[in-house]
């Protein structure tokens, strides 16, 4: 069930959706959005791509197993959680840069925490879905 329409659409949809998911992640602190929703949108982007082009093609784009995103994400969250302890503050204290950064806006440790959540969510969902769908593929053969 390869639809050429979907295939050409995903060529553009994938980067746009990924950009959108990142936009959701960044604005999360002020407007609706955040790491969790952002991660979900990003994984939908990849899932859509896999529907159009097959899971193996999507895995090629990802280059590595989605599973490897989980430890990276957990690591980022943990570091952002414990970083304040280096400054003698209790863990999870928000640390912020003084000046806003162009385009992105204010950057603080909670943004990195959200980034970790974002990565973990993508890793978890893609791991579950792709493992099942790859398993289906191998059994079909």
């Amino acid at each position: 069930m390869r639809s050429p329409i979907l295939q050409s659409a995903t060529k553009y949809l994938l980067p746009i959706l990924l950009l959108f998911s990142f936009f959701l992640l960044l604005r999360g602190h002020y407007y609706p959005g955040g790491g969790f929703v952002g991660g979900l949108v990003a994984s939908i982007a990849f899932v859509l791509h896999s529907f159009a082009n097959g899971t193996e093609a999507t895995m090629k784009i990802l280059r590595r197993k989605p599973l490897s995103l989980i430890p990276i994400g957990l690591g980022v969250s943990t570091v952002s959680m414990t970083a304040p302890m280096l400054f003698g503050l209790p863990p999870m204290t928000g640390l912020w840069f003084e000046e806003p950064i162009p385009v992105i806006g204010m950057i603080g440790s909670s943004l990195f925490f959200d980034l970790g959540v974002y990565l973990v969510v993508i890793g978890v969902i893609l791991t579950i879905l792709f493992t099942i769908s790859l398993n289906n593929l191998t059994e079909k053969d």
């Binding site: 959701l24 999360g28 602190h29 002020y30 407007y31 609706p32 959005g33 955040g34 790491g35 969790f36 929703v37 979900l40 949108v41 994984s43 939908i44 899932v47 599973l67 989980i70 994400g73 957990l74 969250s77 943990t78 959680m81 999870m92 928000g94 912020w96 204010m106 603080g108 909670s110 925490f113 959200d114 970790g116 959540v117 973990v120 969510v121 890793g123 978890v124 969902i125 791991t127 579950i128 879905l129 493992t131 099942i132 769908s133 398993n135 289906n136 191998t138």
Partner: protein
């Protein structure tokens, strides 16, 4: 001190990545750990014997009263020296004993862990910290005892040891918490000051009972002694370490440590004397009927532990000093005998003493070690054992419970006669007599195996010749720590010719006679085993058996592997819980005037929702019902939008999309049409689903009719920007105020993903095999 305690833990962690290196000649590096710790603790000896003690205080979880408080006083020092000193010998010995063994690295990992845990137990000044290490000794000894894990007997013994000591651990924890609550502190040094408060509390007998349960199970007192002979399934270095100086002595340490806090009452003294007295006599007689070398040693160990419990129970100055001397004596000769037994087993392939004899001709350095240990255990003059035995009689004769003094002395004499004979059986019998022909070609093992027992055996003699020095440095400091005041008794080689001396000599002679008269055989062993039928071991095994049966039945009932059955049970349970809560919270009042008229859009969405629901329930196709389900999800999403919850709506929307995808992927595996098994099941599921819906609606109404507390909402609303610099309150709560929750949720998600990944991958592998 923290580093000293943790070094073993760190090393055992390092063994995981670097373990393979150890199988080479680098394994000698491991022996440096106990040796350097031993030297470290030796450096404290002069200061401690001068009467000072050392404290180290590091905050860990102050809010729970758990801190890294370590204290080194005479009692801790004696134990720390034994743990590290005997440990050094064991590490040397085991390095050769297990040479070429496949799990060599793993063994030393457990051993380091265990040593570390023991040091933690004896150095902790915080009772909760002590408990943590206490449990760690149980767990690490479980791995050590069950080290030959391809042997069913070995696994069973390990499990028995763990369940008995673990059971005691539960009681101990309860006792310690009660103690801490009454005294208001968890620090041992402060508990001593709260002694009066604790003794006068009505819960005192209960605390004492719990504490005794912990100590008796660990130190194998009757009726919990049976795990110890079973633990002999462990490799010999482990038996030597666990039963001479460490594991089983932890219970004795606990009693000694708590005697200034809880001791000195009738409850304390009589219980300990009764239990200890019975255990020592019982086990000493038992040991005479064993024919297995390690079996003899196991029972004589139990007997020695009984003596120690008994002495701590007697509680007089003489008794405590006797105990501190006997701990050292026993550790030295018992470790020697175990190590000797290990070599004999290693070289001849048997531990049956009826088959062994004359080994002095082929294993002469070992025979010196064995005979020295046997003599020390027998209490021959000039050995350290003699002084230990003397002090025991001294203590029983001069007990405060005068009419009992003679009876107690009688029990002690009988026990010691048994121990003399048992010591000879284990240390002398294999080396004397004629050498059987089949053992004629035996060679001495590597030096690293026979030197440790020889050194330990000779130390027993050296300490016996210089009792004053050893006593001065270690035993007095130990007794001071237990009694709380300095003592002035001197240890001497030669007491005046008095009753105690006569008793000692009589014991020795009687023991020798018993040794020659008593001919243990397999037949006699069987006879005495029959007595065990009435022993509590039966009850315990029966009990364990029943628990296993119950857990099997329970597991089969609740974990039958059908997802639908899990769902059913989870929902039913939730329904019962929620319905009960609704029931007790009283009637719901509906204020109809507060209901606003629904808008045109809302009605439209609800109509779609009901339509989709109808399709879900009635369609015969799985795919259709999944699609209809996602329609329901999107409708709910719209409702979130109407009620201005954009964050929720977004999440609901994406989650719903993804779960539909997931469903479709899984559907592939299932038959395409739903086959209902029967009308009854259909009705059952319908009723459960309907009642769940009703309950949730009732809860919604209830929440709606309750006055809403706006305190929390206002707090977040006001502080989100001030404290966390965010304007989206939902997100701020997620990443800042309740960030730890989010952190753990992501961990849970990761675990779920790993679970799915490994389940499917593992299954793939097994099909590949086929």
């Amino acid at each position: 001190m923290l580093l000293a305690v943790l070094s073993g833990l760190i090393i055992s962690l390092l063994i995981i990545p670097f373990g393979k290196l150890l199988t080479t000649k680098w394994s000698f590096l491991l022996t440096l750990l106990p040796a350097s710790l031993f030297l470290y603790f030796m450096s404290y000896v002069p200061a401690i014997s001068a009467g000072s003690s050392f404290l180290q205080h590091i905050h860990w979880i102050p809010s729970l009263g758990v801190d890294f408080d370590f204290r080194l006083d005479g009692l801790s020092l004696l134990f720390a020296l034994l743990i590290t000193g005997i440990g050094t010998a064991i590490f040397f010995y085991a390095r050769t004993y297990l040479k070429g063994y496949i799990f060599f690295d793993r063994f030393f990992g457990y051993l380091c862990l265990f040593m570390s845990a023991m040091l933690g137990v004896v150095l902790s000044d915080n009772i909760l910290l002590l408990f943590v290490f206490w449990e760690l000794t149980s767990i690490s000894s479980f791995f050590l005892i069950g080290f030959n894990n391809d042997n069913a007997d070995s696994r069973k013994s390990a499990l028995t040891a763990l369940s008995v000591t673990g059971l005691g651990g539960f009681f101990l924890l309860a006792g310690l918490i009660l103690l801490g609550n009454i005294a208001g502190t968890y620090t041992i040094s402060e508990l001593i000051d709260a002694r009066e408060l604790i003794l006068n509390n009505e819960l005192y007998p209960l605390i004492l009972g719990f504490l005794f349960m912990g100590a008796f199970t660990k130190s194998a007192q009757f009726p919990f002694h049976f795990w110890l002979p079973g633990a002999m399934k462990a490799p010999t270095p482990v038996s030597a370490y666990l039963h001479s100086a460490t594991m089983v002595k932890a219970g004795i340490y606990l009693l000694a440590r708590f005697s200034p806090i809880l001791g000195g009452t009738d409850y304390w003294n009589y219980t300990l004397m009764a239990v200890g007295g019975f255990t020592m006599l019982f086990a000493s007689i038992h040991s005479l009927f064993r024919i297995d070398l390690k079996g003899i040693l196991a029972y004589s160990t139990i007997s020695a532990l009984g003596i120690l419990t008994f002495l701590i129970g007697a509680g007089t100055r003489e008794a405590i000093i006797a105990a501190s001397v006997f701990i050292l004596v026993h550790a030295l000769y018992k470790a020697t005998l175990f190590l000797v037994a290990g070599i004999i087993d290693h070289e001849t392939g048997t531990r049956d003493i009826t088959a062994l004899g004359g080994l002095r001709k082929v294993l002469w350095p070992l025979s010196i070690a064995g005979i020295l240990a046997a003599l020390s255990s027998a209490g021959l003059p000039l050995t350290y054992g003699f002084i230990g035995k003397d002090l025991i009689y001294e203590a029983t004769l001069h007990t405060e419970y005068q009419p009992l003094g003679w009876i107690l002395t009688g029990i002690a004499v009988l026990t010691n006669i048994g121990l003399v004979a048992a010591g000879f059986m284990a240390g002398l019998k294999p080396f004397t007599g004629a050498l059987p022909e089949k053992f004629a070609n035996i060679h001495l093992p590597y030096k690293s195996m026979w030197i440790p027992p020889l050194v330990l055996g000779i130390l027993g003699l050296v300490f016996g010749l210089l009792p004053g020095a050893v006593g001065q440095f270690i035993n007095h400091a130990t007794a001071d720590a237990v009694l709380g005041s300095p003592s002035d008794m001197q240890l001497k080689i030669w007491h005046e010719f008095n009753l105690v001396f006569i008793l000692s000599i009589a014991t020795l002679l009687a023991g020798i006679i018993v040794y020659f008269v008593n001919k243990p055989s397999a037949l006699k062993l069987q006879a005495i085993e029959r007595l065990n039928a009435i022993a509590p071991q039966r009850i315990f095994t029966r009990y364990a058996h029943d628990i296993m049966r119950f857990s099997k039945w329970y597991t089969n009932l609740f974990h039958n592997g059908y997802l639908r059955s899990y769902h059913l049970k989870i929902i039913l349970f939730a329904e019962l819980l929620l319905a009960y809560k609704l029931w007790i919270s009283g009637p719901i009042t509906l204020d109809l005037e507060k209901i606003t008229t629904p808008s045109f859009y809302e009605i439209g969405v609800i109509v779609i929702l009901i339509g989709a629901l109808y399709i879900v329930v009635t369609t015969p196709s799985r795919l259709t019902s999944v699609v209809a389900m996602s329609v329901i999800g999107y409708c709910i999403c719209l409702i979130f939008v109407f009620y201005s919850a954009p964050d929720l709506a977004m999440t609901q929307f994406t989650i719903d999309t993804l779960s539909t995808v997931l469903f479709v992927l899984v559907l592939y595996k299932l038959p395409s049409f739903i086959n209902h098994t029967g009308k009854a099941i259909l009705y059952r599921d319908g009723i459960i689903a309907l009642s769940f819906g009703v309950i949730i609606s009732l809860i919604a109404l209830r929440v709606w009719s309750e006055p809403i507390s706006e305190e929390i909402a206002n707090f977040y609303g006001e502080n989100a920007y001030i404290l966390a610099k965010g304007k989206n309150v939902v997100n701020v709560i997620l990443v800042d105020f309740r960030g730890i929750d989010t952190m753990f949720e992501t961990v849970v998600l990761s675990i779920a993903a790993l679970g799915v990944y490994s389940l499917i991958r593992l299954r793939l592998k097994s099909t590949e095999k086929e």
